[in-house]
């Protein structure tokens, strides 16, 4: 099985494929990338079986163009964004409003022009009224992974990244951003129309959407609408809820 | 043997040569910058020409008017360059081998060429590890071994000493005769040229300033200066008659059976040689003269021609040989001895001043 997936799924898919392989003896390889690029490759006939997008819009587009099986379209979770700060450095922000403090000289977000998490970050900043102040301090990562690197390497005091990335990344503390401040980050997957292993693919998708699968996803912060995050998980991963 | 019509220009310099060369070899000389190298390069196909027709031994090699313009590598015209142009990345042996053709004796033999040019020790070296003269010899060898139909030599012996020159020149003559390889030789040294050929081509400013044998060229006062700059000499063919007292006696070919004594000639009896005489070494005398002179040669002859240029007088004397000798004498001596055309006269020369080879 060849799985193409948005970069923020790196860890979650590692667990999922390992678990799936243990169960079915079927190996699966994962190609990570930006959802936008992967979608373009799939439109050009890339030989993947399953596509996990960070933005369900890409899935809908591909299905509309006939590159995906409409029946396989599944929302596997809703993304959240967090304020990530390197541990042991400056005092972490307790919420978005704190970003106006001059100790945050550089704030990294993903490029809002094309990265869903970046767009969400911008919406949240605008919504909470700090956009005008922080705009000149922003630096833009190509994707959430790179955005996180800015903060990890100490070049940005804080980065707005995906919760799914913050959870498995050691060395930092983070604060969840209220999801009412941005439009929902609905994340979807599909089986490709060109897949040569359609049954296996569908079986894999079924596994992922099974309760056990969802539990794995939830461990990385992918919750379904209405679900809440497990506080113990937050605790373990040095995260906290906004003030 | 060679017909040649050429027009070209290099920048502002035009070169026009239109000649018929009868001999198997022709010497080309003229002042620096007169177009000698350009002529050779054009014949070899290395220079764009305005018009060129080249006929060698009846075969039309190039004719731009008839669109017969084979590229250089199909002309089989060899060229020894003024700057040797050895291939820097190849050993001397590989340089020599580069143009090697027809191992089955169609041209000069490998070992022969190497021995002649004394380059056997260099074969494994790179050109950069050879001296200037060594490179020049290798370049000559490389051209010879390619066995061309026509061989062009651009000052092939310029930085070699006389010893080496005297060794190489007869060999070139042999090449010319044995392989019917016509030669065009550029040189600033008339002695060098004449030992290969009777026929001379004199260039000046991209024009033919004179053509023909020495006698003919020397008959024109204007050309005499140019000839002098190239070192005027006479060459006479002959055969070694006998040796005596360390001297070789040479019988000049021709009706007169004139005999000349040469020092420093070790050619065996019966072998053909060329005798080289410098006009300013020859002394004219009216008989009789005394014996108390270290002068071995005393040849009777008749005055054929007297050429006077502002700075010198040249007297051509018929010794009954194939061609006349030229003697350069003072104006004053012509008056004192009362020399006129048709006079019977003695030509005197030291045996040491006569070279045979």
């Amino acid at each position: 099985l060849r799985i193409a997936a948005a970069a923020d799924l790196a860890k979650a898919l590692e667990d999922l494929t390992a678990w799936h392989q243990a169960k079915t003896q079927q190996p699966a390889t994962v190609t990570l990338g930006s959802s936008g690029l992967l979608a373009r490759q799939i439109a050009q006939g890339a030989p993947f079986d399953v596509f996990f997008s960070a933005n369900v819009a890409f899935i809908d587009n591909l299905i509309a163009q006939g590159h995906g099986l409409a029946a396989s379209r599944t929302l596997y979770g809703r993304g959240r964004i967090v304020l990530w700060t390197k541990a042991g450095g400056i005092l972490p922000p307790e919420g978005l409003a704190d970003l106006t403090d001059p100790r945050f000289q550089r704030i990294a977000i993903a490029n809002p022009d094309h990265a869903p998490y970046g767009l969400a970050a911008r919406q949240a900043m605008q919504q909470s009224g700090i956009w005008e102040v922080v705009q000149s301090r922003l630096v833009y990562g190509e994707n959430v992974g790179q955005t996180l690197h800015y903060a990890q390497s100490g070049n940005a005091e804080v980065a707005v990244v995906a919760l799914s990335l913050a959870i498995p990344t050691p060395g930092g503390t983070w604060t969840l951003i209220d999801d009412r401040l941005h439009q929902p980050l609905d994340q979807g997957l599909m089986v490709l129309a060109t897949s040569r292993q359609r049954q296996a693919s569908e079986a894999f998708v079924a596994q992922v959407t099974s309760p056990e699968g969802r539990a794995v996803l939830r461990r990385y912060g992918f919750v379904q609408p209405g679900e809440t995050l497990d506080p113990a998980l937050l605790e373990r991963a040095h995260g906290r809820l906004p003030r | 043997m060679i017909d040649l019509d050429l027009r070209l220009h290099r920048g502002a310099f035009p070169l026009t040569v239109s000649i018929h060369l009868a001999g198997a070899a022709t010497g080309i000389f003229g002042p620096s910058g007169s177009g000698k190298s350009s002529l050779l390069h054009a014949l070899a196909g290395l220079l764009p020409v305005d018009a060129l027709r080249l006929v060698v031994g009846g075969e039309v090699l190039v004719d731009t008017a008839a669109d017969l313009t084979p590229p250089a590598h199909q002309r089989r015209i060899g060229l020894v360059f003024q700057d040797h142009r050895l291939f820097p990345h190849l050993s001397i042996a590989d340089n020599l081998r580069y143009g090697l053709r027809a191992p089955a004796g169609r041209g000069p033999a490998w070992q022969e060429v190497i021995d002649l040019l004394d380059i056997g020790d260099l074969l494994d070296r790179r050109p950069e590890h050879c001296s200037g003269g060594q490179r020049q010899r290798v370049a000559l060898g490389r051209a010879l071994l390619a066995a061309p139909r026509l061989l062009l030599l651009d000052e092939p012996l310029a930085s070699l000493d006389r010893g080496l020159k005297r060794q190489i020149l007869p060999y070139l003559r042999r090449i010319r005769d044995r392989w019917q390889m016509p030669l065009l030789v550029v040189s600033h040294d008339l002695e060098e040229v004449l030992s290969l050929s009777d026929e001379l081509l004199l260039l000046a400013n991209g024009q033919v300033a004179g053509q023909g044998d020495l006698m003919h060229l020397a008959s024109d006062p204007a050309r005499l200066e140019l000839l002098h700059d190239a070192g005027l000499v006479c060459l006479m063919p002959g055969i070694v008659d006998h040796h005596a007292d360390g001297l070789a006696w040479v019988r000049l070919t021709g009706p007169g059976h004139a005999h000349l004594a040469c020092a420093n000639c070790t050619a065996p009896v019966g072998s053909p040689v060329e005798v080289l005489l410098h006009p300013d070494d020859l002394i004219l005398a009216r008989p009789p003269i005394g014996e108390a002179l270290s002068l071995t040669n005393r040849l009777p002859g008749r005055i054929l021609q007297i050429t006077r240029s502002p700075s010198r007088c040249l007297v051509a004397v018929d010794l009954g040989a194939d061609r006349p000798v030229l003697a350069e004498v003072a104006e004053r001596a012509i008056t004192a001895l009362g020399l006129t055309i048709g006079d019977e006269i003695l030509v005197l020369a030291k045996a040491q001043a006569v070279q045979a080879r």
Binding site: R2, A7, A10, K11, E14, T29, V30, T31, L32, G33, L37, R40, Q41, Q44, G45, A46, P47, G145, H149, L165, P168, T169 | H41, A44, G45, L46, P71, A72, H73, Q74, R75, R76, I77, G78, L79, F81, D83, R85, F87, P88, H89, Y98, G99, R101, E128, S131, G132, R142, A143, A146, P148
Partner: protein, 227 residues
Amino acid sequence: MTPETWTPLLLSLEYASLGLALAMALGLPLATALALGRWPGRDVVEVVVTAPLILPPTVLGYYLLVALGRSSPLGQAWEGLTGSSLVFTPTGCVLAAGLAALPFVVTATRRAMEEVDPRLLAAAATLGAGPWRRFRTILLPLARRGIAGGCILGFAKALGDFGVTLMVAGNIPGLTQTAPLAIYDAMLSGQDGRAAGLAAFLTAVGLAVLWLVNRWARPQRPRDGAT
């Protein structure tokens, strides 16, 4: 070292070598024509060959993907001929590597050939060597160092190509995931150690290859300025 580490490295070396071979197969004749030919527009062609350097690789890769993709005429012709597609296959990797190397091969070769003393070529012609023989025995050996220099840079570039390979060949582990892609993946998935290890390895192997080629192309002895 696990095969997981080795595979991308080996793939990289393989594709970069094949890509360089492809670039040389196309580039050497082109560069020769540029160096020796007298046709107009030579400079324009050379400059166009360097164009791939200027575009962001991913963008270039995307355009390439569209041009060679499975729905393009070229891609379909190839697929009809060989049964496998040009893109998302090792062929795509080789194409990407070749494209990366081509500018270096072409410009260096052209320049090196133009530096060869034309008087030596003239001398070879008078010795009866036709164009092909002159090319083989004089031009190529004397331009060797310059050509090798271009190939070295080209190989390095091919080895390090990321964006074009990513787009055209698709980062499929074990098939088209070359070392640069694997390093990037490792970094994305937070395996910084693996990324650093792979990067160190790739650099070391790449540099070793370059160093060897460099040695081979360099003259043995230094020349002095005398005689």
